[in-house]
Amino acid sequence: MSLFSDARWGEALTHLNDYLGNHVRVSVTALALGLVISFPLAIAARNRPLFRNLLLTLASIVQTVPGLALLALFYPLLLALTSMTMAWFGFGFSAFGFLPAVLALALYSMLPVLRNTITGLNGVDPALLEAAQGVGMTPSQSLFTVELPLALPVIMAGIRTSAVWVIGTATLSTPIGQTSLGNYIFAGLQTQNWVFVLFGCLAAAVLALAVDQLLALIENGLRNRSRVRAALGALGIAALILATLVPTLARPPSSYIVGAKTFAEQYVLSALIAERLRAAGFSASSREGLGSSVIFDALAANDVDVYIDYSGTLWLNQFHRTDMLPREQLLDELKAILAKQNITLFGELGFENAYALVMPKQRADALGIHSIADLASHAGTMSIAGDYEFFSRPEWAALKGAYGLSFRTQRTMQPDFMYAAVASGEVDVIAGYTSDGLIAKYDLTVLDDPKHAIPPYDAIVLLAPKRAHDQALQAALKPLLGKVDISDMRAANLRASGNDAASSPDAVARWLWDRIEKH
């Protein structure tokens, strides 16, 4: 199949209205907000060297913060703010998605506008300023009828730069819950769907170029004092905004929002849930690529209705528990903790995605290793590999403590390469994930953990506070509980890591549902 006849282009196209509309909405709002703030600041600062330097330095510092980090920082900031307004004034706002994205992008857009407005205004010929004063203009008449019109081409050039930056950076607002063209890129990277990645990049580039060229037309019109060109450019911008916004605004809002974290399994499971909801006659949309703590807070704040988390992740990362409980007890305790935040632990899907020590089946059988306890006596001559965080996680400390493990060497590896490395004998043992499809593909075996050193990582369905008594939702999701077994999930994950049309999250979710129905 050639690159261009790939069915995934068509699938990408079906999301375009939604992603592009949201992308334009967040970019335009951010740009407008940025202009409204920067413009008066620049005018106030232009004749005050100290203030001007401070302002430009601050804006430059903001610019050095990577876009992703800036967006990510606004989320907890707003979260703290909303809890403050809630406590003081009795109302809160959503710290999820649109608002943090707009604020971060607006901040990001300020430098070029500030710099060019100041440069443009200070670049006006002093003889003309004297002339304005000499013919009897007040300072504000001089500003509005002489200085600003003369500085406008330079100011427009700044707005152009800022528009291109904002449109590009807006692709990074996906992880904080703002749908954008970045959804293609993040989903594509996680599910190795290069068509999506390419589509997202192209769409963002085309949008940025189109806006840049239309603004260039306005700038050119202003520079050459051609009203026609300036008006054409402005019309083009207005048409672009309308064309991208109308389809999104005309669509009724989805009744359910399904969240997904940033890895393939999550994309598949959110697609599965969304499909079940649609099958039950509801409208549902996915909010994908959300950061691990963002998604939990979004659920607690009712911004996301339902998503799949893992018991161990919540236990260790969200609630910072260090004690280890047996599986059932841990789930019960977790249920109680979540209930305090009005979050419903609706049930388990039936599989675990836990860290586990994995080695080739044949080798394990040959050495008579079935559990981590058996491994301990061999560890001294063996090497182990794990992902970037494993060796600093509590699970590793617990494993070493419980079994007295001491390996000859330990290495960190990119998760995708780990499985191939252990299959080829490059390393002896890896710290893999129990639901990874590559375990079956490379004929590996997961070693038992008889001492329960690694906490259980049951996949669990979490419901937002406002869905606690939603019988219809719960009825639609009930058939999934306990029905997704580990071998099906591994097979699904393996499919999702493929690079063809059958590997899209939606297609894999349909396949998985077929398997569930057959059980």
């Binding site: 010929d125 003889a127 003309l128 004297e130 002339a131 304005a132 004063q133 000499g134 013919v135 009897g136 203009m137 007040t138 008449q141 009828t145 002489v146 019109p149 003369l150 004092r225």
Partner: protein, 264 residues
Amino acid sequence: MTATPLIVYADVGKIFAGRGAERVVAVHDVSLEVAEGEFLAIVGGSGSGKTTLLRLANRLIEADRGRITVEGEDVRALDPVLLRRRIGYVFQSGALFPHISVAGNIGVTPKLLGWPAEEISARVDELLELVRLGKSHRDRLPHELSGGQRQRVGVARALAAKPRIVLMDEPFGALDPLTRDGLRDDYRALHDKLALTTVMITHDMAEALLLADRIAVMHAGKLLALGTPAELSKSDDAYVAELLRTPRREAERLNALLPRDGAA
């Protein structure tokens, strides 16, 4: 020429802050009266304080000491913006607003004064006629005009709100000699026709002699001499004599080089 002084400088001084603690005395205790209907030229080199002296009159620069009156009123008691709207000002090389049409440039002060649009439009036509530019120039932008045409618009702009006083800051300096000569004559004719009171600064003594009724010579912030060309020629000040020597010698040499045959 009547004797009523329209502009009076009395012991006026202005000091600019230089670098660090340095003080630059731009204007040093100058007293000067400009009579109604008079054409006064202020002559001096760069740094002589002539531009400062001119700008003190419409408060583009504020005096540190002394007293300046315009039409009998102390300028310190007037709103500087309103003061400037009633005094015409012609800038060096025009200083037209490049983004505004010729008509817009000319009508700027009447517009600031809140004249009705039709009245401004009629006044613009009248002025274009007066400075000998066709009405076809109305909608042009300044960059479409020649240097001489631009300065004609500059003059029209200064006259738009019917001021009694016009201040000119080296208005003809940047023009080629032929254009300069034509414009000088045209302006002097307007000055007489409209009964204006004009103060013009120039570094060109010949221009001052040819155009002005009286000439004030500035040097290092001080008023060295003041009088008609004939009075100045009797001055025993060395600097004034030196200023007069150049045009005189040029005139003699030109006379010698370009003998008029007296032929018809």
